[in-house]
Structures are given as C-alpha cells and as structure tokens.
C-alpha cells in the first residue's frame, strides 16, 4: 500500500466527509476532513489501518482560510507512510472533538494545542493546562497571529498547577524538581501505598540535547516541501553525524543509568570511552556537541577522505571496549537484580501511549524510523532493529547496548560507500510558499517528527515538532505502577528523559501530612533570592 491507496481507502470509507486528500511522493498523505468526522477517522486509522499516533498541532489560518487548522499526525510504519489529518475549525466557535478517548496517545498534544491556539478539545478526559505558565492569562493563546510577538503578561501570584489527586489511602512522594539522580529539573508526584507505587502525575516536558536530529529533520522537511534535491554525499554525512550522535548519547545514557542504580564504575568507564568521540566530533564539526552542520539543501562541512581513518580508529576502539563492558553486564547479579523485572511497560501500553525509540523497542515494538521511513542515506545502509520483549528496564538497557554496536557498523559502511561530490544543493530562488511536508528522524531517544508549512520570504508559516521524550514521558505513570519506590529513579531514567524546567516546589509536611505548593515568589522569598528581571 502507498499513500495514494491509503487516501483512497479513507475516501471510500468516509465519502463526503473527506473533503480532499493529496499525497507527497508515495509516503506522505494529507487528508482534509470535516470536523464532525474527526473521531471516526482517527479511530479508523488507529484501529483498522494499524497507524501509530504521532502528534497534534494547531495553526492559525484565519488570514488565509478564515479557520483554525487542527492537524493530527499518524504513522503507518509497516507501509512506510506518514499521514496528516487536517480539520478546519470555525474561528467563532473554536471547538473540535477530542480524539483522546479513542487514541490515548493524543492526550498531551491535545492539551498543548488548546494552550497554544485555543481550540477546545471537547470530551478530553484530562483537559488541564500543559505547557503555559500557571499565571498566563486564560484567554491569551500565544500561537494566534493577533497575539503580539514577545508579549509578557504580568506575573500573578498564588497560583498552583492543577494536580491529580492520589487514590484513596495512598500518600504522595514528590520527586523533583531538583532530584539528585535526575540532572535536569522534572517533577513527578508519585502515589505510594507503603513501598509500592500505585500511580503518578507528571508535569513539564521537552527534549533538547540531541541537537543534530532536530536540525536534520527540519531541513529534510523543508527540502521535501520545496522539492530540493540534496546531494548524495550530504546525505551520507548526515547519516554519519546522526550515528555518531547516537553513539555519544547511548554511552552517556548507560553511564547515567549505572549512576542511578549506584554503580558508578559504569558511569566512569562509559564516559571515559565517550570522550575521544566528543573530540572526534569537534574535529569534524567544530564543536563537541552542537555540530551546526545542517542547512536546508545539504551540510556545511565535509568529512574529508583524510579524516576517514580518524573516524574509524575512534569508533573501533569504542566498539572493542563497549563489547567488553557489555559482556560483563549479564554476569553481574547486582546490576541484573536492579534491572530485571522492574519498570515494566507492556507492549500494549507502549503502543496505546505512542512510545518511541528504545523505550518502544524494549517493549517489543519493532519500530525504528531508520528502517520504517528511511531518510538521509539509510535506505542504502544495513540497519538492524534491536528489539527486546521483556518490557523491563533490562530490555531497554540491552536495546541501547546493541544499538551502539550496530551504529559502529553503520558508520563503517557509510564511510565505505560514501560517494564523492558536492555537499550543498544550489538554491537560487526563494522557496515556494504554502507547501507542506513531514519528516522524521530516529533520534537516540526515539522518533523526532517535524511538520513544516512553508510561508513567504523563505520563512516557515507553521512548524510543528515532536521530540521523543514527549511521547515517552506519557508512558511513565503506567510504567511506575506496581514498582517499589526504590526502582522509580531507574525506571524514569530508563527511557533517557530530557526535561525542561517549568516546575515548582511541593512540600509535604510529614507531621500533618499537609501538602503545599510554593509559588516562584514564595520560593524565592524563602531563600531570599532576588528575582532577576
């Protein structure tokens, strides 16, 4: 099946409710449907066509179309298709049916879409605010074009985020926002009965460290929309940099995982092995982490043939030591006891909640964008999907260990087969406006997804991004349930989270059992810190 056929299936099933559909190549489908059929179409794609949910986004198109555009993105991994379902909503009555009841993975992104564009998801089971600050005015939706750019509403004091109440009889253990094992601020309210976790609430998200994947995905989306042909050599260079980034990230992650369970040998050794890789990236790109190599049309820096040996030496050395370390892990009962059978995320839940990357593959879901929706040079290279189905923390460790070794192979193959030639496409004209394209990249943590609608003067009109942690964090509450409290940090750590810092301080008075949330002002007053203006 290709995008055209899938479009025809949808058209046949829903008739006049499908206003229009178009395709981009054989792998991207854009369907515009009437608002009243949104839930049906979403359910059909999700249940009958085997689509996986990606994300939701809203666009203010009142100037062009007198409507808000609400878009749900799906992926059909077996058939290598991405699907966008567009619905136009009247500005006077900004409401659209929520699809969360039938597609649970849409939960967060529908809340975010409401925050940003103000189209109410009717029937959403948990319509709390997700991304805006608590004191942000109720009726100011930042992505609407009539909201002035850079607006700063005055802060309001004494507001707290709405929180989920713990189940009857359970107590709350707040983890975060500054928790010693999670180096970034994040905030979980874990509900416990005795030592056993019975539920959790989480707030705050976003993933940012894997920089190359995002610039790559964005450039690919724009190139696709504008019909720019990227030189083959540039595609190979992108692939190599992506794999170097995966190596670097998985090594960092294994170190952190060791650190979380109190096994710092792993931390010290993986980080030591990783350092030469960081220097290699510095030699190639000019910086150890922010490679800054992608531009629309290709890459800015070449990997010159005289550098090939350098690359090979560094990754071979890593491969050798990594295999040794990986060989020691299965025999280490301390490690195995901490990892095996903890943090269970069932295949069912992982699919329902849209897990991505090693988190999904550790739960037996064989999805990997590099294979399912090949980009850059991956269609010419041999990529193995590393899948484990024990669904626990150990599975997620093993997936990453194997992927690291696989990355090394991929880099070797790419170096062998990389053709000569230019690394940038010639772009002489302004990019066409009003075109759209989707693009995804398999980041170390999972699928990064970008959708771009091009605008005039080489600027995007709308750009929607989904980072993998966004999808994976939604899997945390079910993953924590039934665990001992001591296994919570490694379970949270096991999908390599990457957090933004939007949280507050919750204090539980152990004597009275009272919970109180400090606002930023109170918190600062307590610690006598001036608010920096």
């Amino acid at each position: 099946m290709n995008a055209q056929q899938l479009g025809e299936n949808v058209k046949q099933k829903f008739g006049a409710k499908v206003i229009d559909f178009e395709t981009l190549g054989s792998d991207q489908l854009y369907v515009t449907i009437s608002p009243d059929s949104l839930v049906e179409v979403a359910e059909y794609l999700y249940r009958n066509e085997g689509c996986r949910y990606v994300i939701n986004g809203g666009t203010d198109r009142r100037q062009q179309r007198d409507a808000f555009l609400i878009t749900h993105f799906f992926a059909q991994d077996e058939e290598k298709i991405y699907v966008a379902i567009h619905t136009e909503v009247e500005p006077d009555n900004p409401q659209v049916d929520s699809i969360t009841p039938v597609v649970p993975a849409a939960n967060w992104s529908e809340r975010e879409t409401y925050d940003m564009i103000g189209v109410v998801p009717v029937g959403h089971p948990d319509p709390r605010r997700l991304v805006l600050a608590d004191d942000w005015p109720e009726d100011l939706f930042p992505l609407r074009y009539d909201v002035e750019h850079g607006v700063k509403p005055p802060p309001v004091e004494g507001l707290a985020p709405e929180r989920l109440e713990p189940p009857e009889g359970a107590s709350v253990v707040p983890i975060g926002p500054y928790f010693p094992v999670l180096e970034e601020p994040a905030y979980f309210r874990v509900f416990v009965e005795g030592e056993t976790v019975v539920g959790a609430d989480y707030r705050g998200f976003y993933c940012g460290i894997c920089g190359y994947v995002h610039s790559c995905s964005y450039c690919q989306a724009v190139e696709r929309a504008a019909g720019i042909e990227v030189p083959e050599r540039a595609e190979y260079i992108r692939t190599i940099m992506l794999e170097l980034e995966r190596l670097e990230s998985h090594m960092l992650w294994l170190g952190i995982a060791g650190h979380i369970i109190g096994f710092d040998t792993v931390l010290m050794q993986t980080w030591r092995m990783r350092e030469p890789l960081m220097w290699l990236c510095e030699r190639i790109s000019g910086n150890r982490k922010t490679y800054g190599m992608n531009l629309v049309g290709g890459v800015r820096r070449d990997i010159k043939p005289e550098m090939y040996d350098d690359v090979r030496n560094v990754i071979d050395k890593i491969g050798e030591e990594w295999a040794e370390l990986a060989g020691a892990i299965p025999g280490d009962t301390t490690l195995i006891t901490r990892l095996q059978g903890t943090g269970i995320l069932t295949t069912e839940t992982a699919r329902e909640l849209g897990a991505a990357g090693p988190t999904a593959r550790g739960s037996g879901l064989a999805i990997d964008v590099r294979v399912d929706h090949p980009y850059a040079a991956y269609d010419r290279l041999e990529v193995t999907k590393c899948v484990h189905d024990s669904c626990d923390n150990l599975a997620r460790v093993l997936v990453r260990i194997e992927e690291t070794l696989d990355s090394i192979k991929i880099i070797h193959q790419a170096l062998d087969e990389m053709p000569d030639g230019p690394i940038m496409a010639e772009i002489d004209e302004e990019l066409p406006a009003g075109r759209q394209a989707m693009s995804a990249v398999e980041a170390p943590r999972g699928e990064v997804f970008h959708w771009v609608l091009t605008g005039t003067e080489n600027r995007p009109e709308r750009w929607r991004v989904r980072a993998p942690t966004y999808a994976n964090l939604q899997n945390v509450p079910p993953m924590l349930e039934g665990n001992a409290l001591a296994d919570v940090p490694i379970s949270i750590g096991s999908y390599d989270p990457c957090f933004s810092c939007t949280e507050r301080m919750e204090v539980v008075d152990v004597n009275s059992g009272q919970v109180r949330v400090y606002t930023e002002e109170e918190f600062r007053a307590e610690y006598d810190q001036p608010r920096d203006e």
């Binding site: 750019h149 850079g150 700063k152 030699r283 020691a328 299965p330 280490d332």
Partner: protein
C-alpha cells in the same frame, strides 16, 4: 558474578589516568573549532549579510547618519555556529579558537560595536537600491525583539526607519 566483577575491574584499571590537568594546563581545541567570532573592523563593508543569517539574531545594524553604519553584536547570545563567517563577502569574521569567554564584569563585555563609513550613491544617497534585503530584515516580525520594541533586552535605541 566474580568473573564479571573482575572483568569490570580490568576494564577500569587498564586506561590508567585519563583526567586532564585543564585548566591548570591549557587544552587547545582541535580541528576547525568554532570559537569566538572575531570581527575585523577594517575589512567590514557593512553589507549586513551576517545580520541576515545570524540564527541568534544578535547582530544589529543601525544607520546613524547617511554615512555611518553601526554594527552592534550582543555576543552573550552567540551560539558559535559560524554562519556569519560563512557568508561574509569580505572574510571580515573569523571563528577563532577562543572558548574561555566567561566574564564577571556584566554584559558590557559581551557587546561589540563597530562603525563603518558607508560611501553613498550621490543621486539617491543610499548604498543600495531599496528595498534591500537589509530593509526586509528590519521589518517587524523578523527582528522584532530588538528593533520594534526598542529591545527590552537591548541597551540600544531602536532603529528608526525614515
């Protein structure tokens, strides 16, 4: 179990000491490192190319009078991407190897200014035919944060368009 622990011990002992003496001994970056973007004010012709591509939008162009153009760079926001150096037609910007850039004397240290004498067309008194790409980047929306609101973040007056 014991075998595993032994393997781990060997793996840990083999490399010996790897920690560098930095900062007590210098550690120079390798390759074409992208450090502090240095501007050679003698070479700059004030074309504004760097301002147009800078992703951090930290280069501001101000026309003080008909013949003087000021380039203000708020380098605290620099992400060291090197795009400015890429596009500069006069090679006035070099990405140096300098990376130890912290300062304790406030943001003034992070602001670099240069004034360029602009030769103007005798007839239209401008350097280029309007609208130049430069006029476009000064439109609200693009450089909005500094230009339109006079820059809440910026110590400088907004550019007045005539």
């Amino acid at each position: 179990m014991i075998a595993s622990k032994l393997k781990e011990a060997i793996l840990s002992l083999r490399p010996g000491r790897v920690t560098l003496k930095y900062p007590f001994e210098p550690h120079d970056p390798e390759g074409d490192f992208r450090g502090y973007p240095e501007l050679d004010t003698d070479k700059c012709i004030g074309c504004g190319g760097c301002a147009a591509v800078c992703p951090a939008r930290l280069i501001m162009i101000q026309d003080i009078d008909q013949n003087t153009r000021r380039l203000v760079r708020l380098l605290e926001r620099c992400i060291f991407c090197g795009r400015c150096a890429d596009v500069c037609p006069e090679d006035a910007i070099t990405m140096t190897k300098r990376f130890e850039l912290s300062t304790d004397s406030g943001r003034e240290d992070m602001v670099a200014e240069c004034e360029v004498f602009m030769a103007t067309c005798q007839r239209c008194t401008r350097c280029y035919e309007p609208p130049t790409p430069l006029d476009r980047i000064m439109e609200p929306g693009f450089r909005d944060d500094e230009i339109k609101r006079g820059g809440q973040d910026s110590p400088y007056e907004p550019v007045k368009s005539e």
